[in-house]
Each structure stands twice: as C-alpha cells, then as structure tokens.
C-alpha cells in the first residue's frame, strides 16, 4: 500500500500547486453579456445543489444498500471520492476542456484553466441569465455523477488506490471530450456551432448520452475487465439493506428535478415542462418495471419499482425538455420494459458481472432515451428540437450517431485506461481482500457494530 500513500502525498502536493496556479489570474474577469435574473439564478443554484446531493448521499445510498454488509463503506467512499476529486478536476481544467473554445469539434482547451475568465457576476452565452460560474458549477455536478454511476459495475472488488487514478483519468479523457462533443459550442454532435448558432445535431437535454450512455458503456467495460465476484452468480448474498436503496432512489428522484428541469437554465416554461416530463417518466418507469415483475416473476418487488423509477429518470434525461406528456409516458413505459428485459434475460445470457446493473439501467436506459428523444421531440414543446413524430426522421439518425459514437469511444477508452492503470497498480482486490470485504481491507473500518 506504499503506492496508495504515495498517491495520497501526490494529491496533497498537487492541490497546493493547483491553488498556487489558480492564484494567477481569475480575479477580475472580463464581463460577459446578458442581465442576470435572480429567479433563474436561484433555480440554477438550487438545481446544482440538488444534483450534488444525487451523488452523495442519494446514489451512495442506492448503491450502498445493494451490496453486502462488508462492502457498503467502500461504495460510499467511492462516491465521496468521486465527488471530491472530479469537482477539483473540473475547476482546474475539466470545465475548460468541456466548454472552453472548440478545437476541431473534439475538445475544448485550457483557456479557462483554473476558472480564468469564468465570471461569478456576469453571464456567458451558454446561459445568458445566470452568472457564468453558476452554469459552470451546475455542469460540474454532471461531471461528478457520471463516473460515480460506473461504480455500480465494479462494486465489491476494486482496490481503492487504482480506483482513484482511474476516475481522474476517466473524467479527463472520456467525460470531458464527450461533454464537449454534445454540449460544447462547435462539438461534433452539438446543436451549436463554434459561434453559438443553431445547427443540426444530437438532442440531449440533460445528459442521456453524455452522462448515461457514457457511464453505461464504461460500466460494461469495467465489468468485463474486472471479472466476476467470487460466488457470482449463485453464492452471493442479497442486498444487505434495501431500505437504504429505497431512500437513495427517493432522493435521486428528488435531485433529478434539478438535473433535468435545472437544465433549462432558468425558471421558466421549459423548466416546468421538463419537470413534468421527468416526473411522469419516473412514475411510469416504476410502474412498468413493477408490472413486468408481477407478470413474469409473480410478485412486484420494491427493488424492481425503484430500478424502474431510476430507468425512467435515465431515459427521460435527454428528452425532458423536448417531449410532451405523450412522449414522457412512452419513454416511461419503454424504460420499464426494455432495461427489464435486458437485465432479466440478455445480461444473464451474456454472463458478465455488472454488480449493480450500471450498464443495464444507465447504458440501456440511456440508449432508449436518446432514441426516444429523436422520436418524440416536438417543436411545439421546444423550438430547438423536432423528432420523428414531427416528421423529422433524420433526428433519429443523429441520436443513433451520438449514442454509437459515445458508447464506442467510452467503452474503448475505458478498457484502455483500465489496462493502463492495471499495469501500475493491480485493480482487482485479492481473493483475501474480497473475502474479508473492502471496508476492512481498503479502509480499516466496519460499517456496523454487531454488539454495541
């Protein structure tokens, strides 16, 4: 573990350096344009707080409740570390790489390194009624939760040190470019050209592709690379604390209003419409998954309901600001049915160990949502997007292209990064560590006392 401690020392030093570096510049940024609206700013800040809360405690609980007693802390820890680590990476360079001036449609640059020029008082054209930093911090929370989602795939068997390195690389090399492609001005999949004008591109209102397809594909790569947990599939204990998972799901739902309706970047009709669509897709997703369980497994389960709710939320993410009630209902039904079939049948046949179904729910759900956006987007809801039902069949192709490109890039790069990190420090916990549990072996802590 000398490795780990060395990494830790590097952290501390790196942060001191970063603080020093950031200290040049930043102070008085050149003003952007657009009047700041206090209502919109309140909404975006609240949304940013909500999305932060989604990673910890919401997702942490959702995942933590589903693992075994001896690994729950390791999952909580991974969520906390992702939250801390990616937040720092984002202000240092992630935001600049994602949203900074475009280079060939592929990536931003270091113009906004250390938030240089990202004003706290005036707006940027990405969001003209709120301070630029409010937009930046809202986007930060998306960068945070994306790698956190992947945790579900390699839960219960990844060593902590290499995990940290992997996350830092992944967010920089996978998340930042993908975010740029889809949301950055001039990104290859973006609806905005480098000058900020509307062009044809993929529709992704709040991150169906950038967040969910991306995390899902990476999750699949992780599950395959790391291999199965000992005892998989029949000798594994069931979820150690399902109420935790339900609390987590409830809080995820709550936070998702910030995620999706917040992506309207203002407290307006679009936010309202996205809010309603989000809620309905979640509800219908839960009901549909529950119904599938009831029909095919004889009983509706709580875990099924909340999985369906999350799948519904995942699938509506790209669509929230583009679809009407009909679209939301359709997305919801699909997200209860399609990931259900995948998780219950396809996954089992394929035989890989995606411990908490990060690919099954986020990957598959995200793909369905992305495609559904291409189908159900209506100009009457949002002038920025029309889909198949509006007679614009090409949108579906754009959506497929975005999904395909993102999934392929994410899967491939993730696999490569895992190999790379594994050369430096073994990713997989030893048999003994896995048997004793990651809490004790990685963190020297136990989640619960038995006696006192």
């Amino acid at each position: 573990m000398g490795n780990g401690a060395k990494t830790a020392k590097l952290f501390l030093c790196a942060m001191v350096l970063v603080a020093a570096a950031a200290s040049c510049g930043w102070a008085d940024p050149p003003a952007g344009a657009g009047a700041i609206s206090s209502g919109d700013t309140a909404w975006v800040l609240v949304s940013a707080a909500l999305v932060m809360m989604m990673t910890a405690p919401a997702l942490a609980l959702f995942y933590g409740g589903l693992v075994r007693r001896k690994n729950v802390l390791s999952v909580l820890m991974q969520c906390m570390v992702v939250l801390c680590l990616v937040s720092v990476q984002w202000v240092v360079m992630g935001y600049s790489l994602s949203f900074g001036p475009d280079h060939g449609g592929v990536i931003g640059d270091f113009s906004w390194f250390g938030l240089r020029g990202v004003s706290a008082s005036s707006s940027n054209s990405y969001a003209s009624t709120v301070p630029h930093q409010a937009f930046m911090v809202f986007q930060m929370m998306f960068a945070v939760i994306t790698p956190a989602l992947i945790i579900g795939a390699f839960a219960e068997r990844m060593r902590f040190g290499p995990f940290c390195i992997f996350i830092l690389l992944w967010t920089t090399i996978v998340y930042d470019p993908v975010a740029h492609w889809v949301w950055g001005k001039g990104g290859i999949l973006s609806c905005l050209d480098a000058g900020g004008n509307s062009v044809k591109g993929a529709l992704d209102f709040a991150g169906g592709t950038v967040v969910h397809v991306n995390a899902g594909a990476a999750a699949l790569a992780c599950a395959i690379f790391l291999g199965k947990r000992k005892g998989f599939v029949d000798k594994l204990s069931p979820p150690h604390n399902l109420p935790f998972a339900v609390i987590g799901a409830g809080l995820l739902w709550f936070g998702w209003f910030g995620f999706n309706a917040g992506s309207a970047l203002g407290a307006n009709g679009l936010a309202t419409s996205a809010f309603v669509a989000t809620h309905i897709a979640a509800a219908v997703g839960g009901l549909s998954w529950g119904a599938m369980d009831w029909i095919f497994n004889r009983r509706p389960t709580v875990l099924g309901m909340i999985t369906g709710v999350v799948a519904g939320l995942v699938a509506i993410t790209p669509a929230a600001g583009f679809v009407s009630l009909t679209g939301a209902l359709a997305v919801g039904i699909g997200s209860g049915v399609i990931p259900w079939v995948f998780v219950s049948i396809v996954k089992v046949k394929m035989g890989y160990d995606d411990a908490l179904d990060a690919f099954g729910v986020h990957g598959i759900g995200g793909m369905w949502g992305a495609v559904a956006t291409g189908i159900f987007a209506l100009v009457s809801v949002n002038s920025g997007g029309s889909g198949l039902l509006d007679g614009n069949g090409s949108q579906v192709l754009w959506q497929l292209k975005a999904v395909g490109l993102t999934a392929a890039y994410s899967f491939g790069m993730t696999f490569g990064l895992l190999k790379l990190v594994d050369l430096v420090a073994t990713l997989r916990a030893s048999e003994h560590e896995e048997a004793v549990g990651l809490d004790l072996t990685q963190h020297r802590e136990a989640a619960y006392t038995l006696v006192d």
Partner: protein, 113 residues
C-alpha cells in the same frame, strides 16, 4: 441441570415468554437466528435473480434449568410455540455441568434461578 435450546417462530416469542413466566421460569436468553428446516423458505427475487432462499428468520431461546424444571419448560414452549404448521421449530435438551452467577459467584442449582 439442563441447558434447553429452543428454535421457534419469531411471532410466537411473546407467547412463549408468557407461558414460561406462568411456570415461574423467568430467566431466558433470546437471539435472532436464521433457520433451514422442513418449512420451505420463500425464494427471494432480486432483479429477476432468484435466491436459493432456504433460510427463514427464527428466534432461539436458551434456558438453563434445574432438572425438576425441564418438563415444565418444555411444556411451556410447546404450548406457547405451537401453531401446528410446519416451521414451529424444535427443542433441544443438553446436559449442563455447572452454573455460576457472575454477580455473587454462587454455583449450581441456586445460581440457575
């Protein structure tokens, strides 16, 4: 002296404790356990994955008694614990050689009660 161990249904615990009290058997140690027995466990299902699910929640009682109380103890447990359904559980009687009260250091039959 005997050490009596009984595994019962969780929802019979209060009843059994009452029956024991009626027979002046007040001292009992109780703990939650999981049991595999003739009663078929209900197979749990998590995201369509069916667990073996053979273990059911039970409660275990342990009661140290002097020989003359053995019969009464067994009777109390039988009466309080019986529902007539599979899964009602078992009583095991083990021999015990010594009993000591920690507070006083008393031993044997007087320490037991």
């Amino acid at each position: 002296m005997k050490y009596i161990i009984a595994v019962i249904q969780p929802d019979r615990l209060d009843e059994v404790l009452d029956r024991l009290s009626e027979k002046e058997i007040h001292l009992v140690t109780v703990m939650p356990v999981m049991g595999r027995g003739r009663q078929k466990g209900i197979a749990e299902v998590y995201r369509s994955h069916k667990e073996a699910g053979s273990l059911l929640r039970k409660v275990k009682l342990e009661i140290a008694v002097n020989d003359e109380f053995v019969e009464a103890t067994i009777q109390a447990i039988l009466v309080g614990g019986r529902t007539g359904n599979i899964g009602d559980g078992k009583i095991f009687v083990l021999p015990m050689e010594e009993c000591i009260r920690i507070r006083t250091g008393e031993t044997g039959g007087t320490a037991i009660g």
